[in-house]
Amino acid sequence: MKKALVPLLIFAVLMGFLAVGLGLKPREVPSPLINKPAPLFSLPTLDAPQQNLSAQDLRGKVWILNVWASWCVACRIEHPLLVEFAKTSTVPIYGLNYKDKREDAVRWLANYGNPYTRSLSDTEGLVGIDFGVYGVPETFVIDKQGVIRLKQIGPVTPEVLRDDILPLLRKLGA
């Protein structure tokens, strides 16, 4: 009787592992940059290409960095939400226009709305690499000390905004 239970027990343990595995998201690799200072950058902006914006310019305020591109299909999913969020003026959203052409990016914003205070042009994708970007869209929350506090891989959903981003922003005193 006891012996007969052993395969059943092994089966139950296996099922347990598989059930947990179903809920995991292997495509979302945890970033080692969480709770580390955001990488330094200095990039031209979309609206004023001859003018650079650097990480130091944003010190002292909580801000969101959203990595986007006109060629990125998934960016269109989260875009209306970002536009709505920008209207609440909770914190500024800065765009990192990743490996994109300036004309395409400007046209894309004209078509779908512009939630960004400014957008940085990362045409070579080098700042993207510094931020460990591997799947656009990605979104970072950066605190007043310039430390990365949250990274969202893939589109920001209403749930992520409500359950993760907004509570964090409140905590950071934004």
């Binding site: 690799v29 080692p32 931020f131």
Partner: protein, 162 residues
């Protein structure tokens, strides 16, 4: 007659596959580099790095945009005189241990490194226990004398019938 047709079909298939692989090789050889020795060093490092976009491919093998960009970074850093370790560190700072195909032994990779050995030991223990258990009961099964007698009778009957 159908044999000839089959042969012909196989011939066509082989030719097609051959063409396909030539095309694939041609695509991989596409970017011509001025320094093959440097390129070899780039690939040695790129082969130790996982492409985060495709996850089961190395940065050396992947055609993803990010892999191309990271190979470019490796090339630039080698040209600037950086060592392999410096380049691997650069990648880990940005993408974490996940990017290494040969992750370091740390507290959070302990299960990854020791797990298989733990499983092997557990399996060995079960095996040893089973074998010992079997030795104690010859024939593997405990039969009552009546059962043994019946089995013997059945076997004898079988040989008689032959």
């Amino acid at each position: 007659m159908p044999d000839v047709r089959n042969l012909l079909a196989i011939g066509c298939l082989v030719a097609l596959v051959g063409l396909g692989s030539v095309a694939a090789v041609a695509k991989e050889a596409q970017p011509a580099f001025d320094d093959p020795a440097l390129e070899k060093r780039v690939l040695v490092i790129a082969e130790e790095l996982r492409c985060l976009v495709c996850q089961n491919e190395t940065i050396a093998a992947s055609h993803a945009d990010l892999a191309v960009d990271l190979r470019k970074q490796i090339r630039l850093k080698l040209k600037a005189g950086q060592s392999k370790q410096e380049i691997l560190d650069f990648m880990v700072v940005r993408y974490g241990d996940f990017i290494l195909y040969n992750p370091p032994l740390k507290a959070n990779t302990l299960l990854l490194w020791l797990g298989p050995f733990v499983l092997l030991l557990a399996a060995g223990w079960v095996l040893v226990r089973n074998i010992r258990g079997r030795r104690r009961t010859p024939g593997g099964v405990d039969w009552s004398p009546e059962q043994s007698q019946r089995a013997r009778a059945l076997l004898d009957e079988g040989t008689k019938g032959r």
